[in-house]
Amino acid sequence: MEALNLLMHGFQTAFTLNNLLFCLIGVTVGQFIGVLPGLGPVAGMAILIPLTYGLEPTTAIIMLSGIFYAAMYGGTITSVLINTPGESASTITCLDGYQMARQGRAGAALGIAAIGSFVGGVVALVCLTFLGPPIAKFAVRFGPPEFFAIMSFGLLLIVGLMGKSIAKGMIAAVFGILLSLIGMDPATGTDRFTFGQLWLLDGVEFVVLAMGIFGISEILVNAEKNMDIPVPPKVKGFIPKRSEWGISAKAIGRGTVIGMVLGLIPGASASVASLMAYSTEKKVSKHPEQFGKGAIEGVAAPETANNAFSGAAMIPLLTLGIPSSPTVAMLIGAFTMHGLVPGPLLYEKNPTFLWGLIASMFIGNVVLLVMNLPMANMWAKVARIPYKLLGPLIILICMVGVYSVNRMIPEIALLTLFGVVGYFMKKLEIPGAAVILAFILGNNLEYTLIQTLSMSNNGLLYLFQRPISGVMMGLCILILIGSIVSSVMKKRDKLAADQEV
């Protein structure tokens, strides 16, 4: 059919030596930048986009997609190695990925992440290729009430994921939401809770919060043992154990579906996708208590989901010209610079470019996989650097990374504060992940709520007056009641060790 023809043609374009070379460069550099804490995909792209201005449009875009995917993978690498999400979507990966690294299985974690990302990304692209426009038309019907419902659902998942104490999980989540409210109010622009500090006008930076609560606190906790952390055993190989293949495959399958479905909805976020995938895996697993201790599907599912999400999110981008996240928005900016304005007409006005782009995304994914599987071992070696050297270096790099985002020195102080907060939270078994995830959702939650309320005169009832959001909100309420009931019942159990998430 026509689409296949065009795609083949696209591959021809993408496969020129020049384009391949730049794809490779993009992937390499993008990954490198994604790995440095602080600089994540957004910053990485910001730095590298100007370098593409001198290139031919097609080549430039190919390089950019390489950077995009690679930078996201770089974020995964930091999640696994130093328990610090390089970007919001990798937050969930920290939970099991880092534990796997501590067990010496960093290679396997990175490997399955690479494989899952590849599968998720490619499947999403295939759908994009053949199903683009009609899907977009349907997805567009999702409005603020639906988004609010999705976010609420995500929030409940967060609380539901937390080990034992619903109260602790809720405190963490509510605290996270409260932090997200600092800064300019999205609806009216008044600055809230900034205590007169201009640099807080844009709110707390995700990177600062995540690095503090996850990364720095981890080092602080380890400092108690005098940095005498045993070096993780040398487990070679980036391929998961035979016994894990089955589980991983299923996790990847589920992750792909979840990621794709959410990616099609303009307005959902990758973090919600990875969160849902992780949560689903935990719920269907035969050994849920393994999650948070290094369960491989705890890495496979979210990683797959978030790449499937990005791939699928290209659909609204390319068919409607609507970006689904800041990183994608930058990609649009770069496209536009080269005179390629995404939008409904792109499919018609410039088919060569478009199909070349899709083909190059395939290639980008392949290059990423090929490069990273063998390199996973190399990355894993980083985890084996003696901690007394690694720990302080990580702290310094984190501080520099924070600075590199906004060049504001007070943010480094904030990082330190969050590090201390995270330390206490770890000690008290209050889930840091809940804080971070709720923080990510917080702003969106408020904004969609405001939008929903402004769309009708019926207040919150409006949420239930629309089919999709009505169903979702109904689900949310059921889950909430269910969780509270089951936690009250659980209190009667005297289960000793319950893991801290």
């Binding site: 910001a46 201005y53 600055d191 307005g267 409607l320 900016g333 304005v341 939008q451 769309m455």
Partner: protein
């Protein structure tokens, strides 16, 4: 183990040092500019302002005989970047993009929390004037602006209008439109044109207020119908669309993007910059590129730009005093 690590680090360091030596060290033969000029952009890379800046400056390089380096300083709705421009050393090596009317709004809204004012800038030139636009989805029942007004009057509290939220320029336009026609409508804020458009196309809002340049692709693809634009006379890119005034709405709305330097810059250097910008604007290749990326051009030289801004400033201050937003 120590030796290996030590010498490895040393090698890396040496390589890095060598690489930094390769960083471009251009030497210019003239008085000004003698080294690269930094251009501060108050918004993130990839956004509309950033794009405009990079394109303009790329072409301007050959007319000024130098190099421009874009530095993104996003934050606080532009306030951080604008402040940086106003407070930079006026030696001619730092300039920046300013976005009226946002650049005017900040001192008005935030008072002395903001550390710059209009008089802190020496204006170089305005490049882009982006008209406001009122639109509906293509298969909407509304074909003209008066039809919308009539429907809203007959159905109070039902019409949903998507816009950029309080504090944006279109918020003021919307406010005036509502007041002029004495309407009761539902205003739905959106962060960015993308989500605003999605809502419009998905039937979650009926009308949308935004800027023309941001919806050109959808306009050209006939996914939306623009009912009116905020220019004084018809907008050349949308010749069949009536202006606000023609549609019965007595207002205009233009978002501008131009270049400015901190005040106190040497007038000779300012003139060099202004001249270079004028030549850039006249460059047919530049104009073609601008059209390609949907930047509606509107050149205003330093004096004219200043007058425009001063007029606008007076207007907005009066608006704010009468009716703060």
């Amino acid at each position: 183990m120590n030796m290996r690590k030590g010498s490895r680090i040393a090698m890396v360091l040496a390589t890095l040092l060598a690489l930094t030596a390769l960083l471009p060290q251009a030497v210019f033969a003239q008085d000004y500019p003698k080294r690269p000029i930094t251009a501060i952009v108050a918004f993130g890379a990839g956004g509309g302002t950033d794009l405009a800046a990079r394109i303009i400056l790329k072409f301007a390089e050959k007319y000024i005989g130098g190099i421009f380096v874009v530095e993104n300083k996003p934050g606080a709705g532009g306030a951080l970047g604008f402040t940086a421009i106003a407070q930079a050393k006026p030696d001619g090596y730092t300039i920046g993009m300013i976005n009226p009317p946002s650049v005017l709004f900040n001192p008005i809204q935030l008072g002395d929390k903001v550390k710059y004012k209009l008089s802190d800038f020496a204006l170089i030139a305005n490049f882009v004037s982006d008209p406001g636009a009122i639109m509906v989805s293509y298969d909407s029942k509304f074909k003209t602006l008066p039809e919308v007004v009539a429907w809203a009057k007959a159905n109070p509290g039902k019409l949903r209008i998507g816009y950029g939220g309080p504090g944006t320029q279109e918020a003021l336009t919307l406010r005036k439109w509502i007041a002029d026609n004495d309407l009761k409508v539902l205003k739905v804020p959106f962060e960015g044109t993308g989500t605003n458009l999605t809502a419009l196309l998905g039937g979650n809002t009926e009308v949308m207020f935004a800027n023309a340049s941001e919806i050109m692709p959808q306009y050209e693809a006939k996914q939306i119908r623009v009912l009116a634009v905020g220019t004084e006379k018809r907008f050349s890119w949308m010749p069949e669309v009536p202006t606000f005034k023609e549609g019965g709405f007595n207002a205009t709305q233009m978002a501008m993007r131009g270049l400015a330097a901190p005040k106190g810059i040497d007038p000779a250097n300012l003139k060099k910059l202004a001249d270079a910008m004028k030549k850039t604007f006249d460059d047919p290749e530049f104009q073609a590129k601008a059209k390609e990326v949907n930047l509606p051009l509107d050149y205003q030289g330093p004096e004219q730009f200043l007058k425009t801004l001063q007029t606008l400033d007076v207007f907005y201050r009066a608006e704010y005093a009468a009716n703060p937003w």
